[in-house]
Symmetry: C2
Subunit: 222 residues, 2 copies
Amino acid sequence: MMALPHIPYSPVRYSDETMLERSKTFYALMNQRRSVRFISPEPVPREVIDNVIHTAGTGPSGAHTEPWTFVVVSDTEIKHQIRLIVEEEEEMNYRQRMGEKWVNDLSRLRTNWIKEYLDVAPYLVLIFKQTYGILPNGKKKTHYYNEISVSISCGILLAALQNAGLVTVTSTPLNCGPQLRLLLKRPANEKLLMLLPVGYPASDATVPDLKRKPLDEIMVHV
Amino acid sequence: MMALPHIPYSPVRYSDETMLERSKTFYALMNQRRSVRFISPEPVPREVIDNVIHTAGTGPSGAHTEPWTFVVVSDTEIKHQIRLIVEEEEEMNYRQRMGEKWVNDLSRLRTNWIKEYLDVAPYLVLIFKQTYGILPNGKKKTHYYNEISVSISCGILLAALQNAGLVTVTSTPLNCGPQLRLLLKRPANEKLLMLLPVGYPASDATVPDLKRKPLDEIMVHV
């Protein structure tokens, strides 16, 4: 493959004071983010969702493969079918598959297999990783580090949602991938990685009273 | 484990116009981000890095395990030791381990095993995933989805760096994890996931002339 031409890159350069201020303000904004399981049915402008997904697409990826597909579902009937699939599998996960420890670890977050938000949220965003690509000649193209790349992109998506004043909860619906892929008619090279309900928080939304680790428990300076 | 108390959650609510404006502005900001391999040696205020890492720590994680450790290296000698380890392994990766296709796919980005930025960048951020935790009784605590969680956190970190006007390149140094873990004296439950050099772009920095996929190639609306 031919080397791409390189072009100069000189982004905006901020003063020390401005950097400090910007980094502090952005931390304050992101620190207000919480995983929210109670989402309002109120409609959200579609263009905001487009911008958020476009933002997620700016993430880096192994060898610039951009191995992500974001399926945005607003159709009421399809949302309901997604709910049926997820709740059926999740009930089995909780009752049989997950083991007492996982169920126990989750109990303090008061999560269970009832996922009302799947009907209620104006949008469900299903994030698929493309485990390989298809070359013009029909052969498979390896997508290196596709799970890490798509997860990084999801992190940028979460930042974009938070910035817009929307909420979500990252869920990884165990064992639902194949059924959801078929429901949404996604090709065989795409595997469901995450499912995010997106909207405004419900007016009576609550979140578990969790704290985050302080900086000195997550950072080591050498 | 006891259920945590739940508390009301009612974040800022923006008008439609404000949301649109914010989502557009944030997309424009993130879309300027590029992976940069030419980093200036100029010092960067340490407090900015602290804020960026703190921001990364706001990410969601499976059962709120927060399974990440960010090792920020500014010591010149340790940066150099990291470079020696990475370049030795990367040369073997390129020459022997990666296979012609991966080397070929990377060649258009003009990357190779010489990583000058590891000496030059004012900071190296090594992101470790904690594959398990240690309970007060000394037993292992499972960290569900730790790789996805830490990768999401890295996405938020990239957003925070971009917002502050700093650059990086996400690298996943193949086979270097164990040596770097020992060099940095990290415990056995931590595995290196990514290594990010962080700083201002060099004044003569260039990037490959890549385009990103348009929105309709990454998003499907149902």
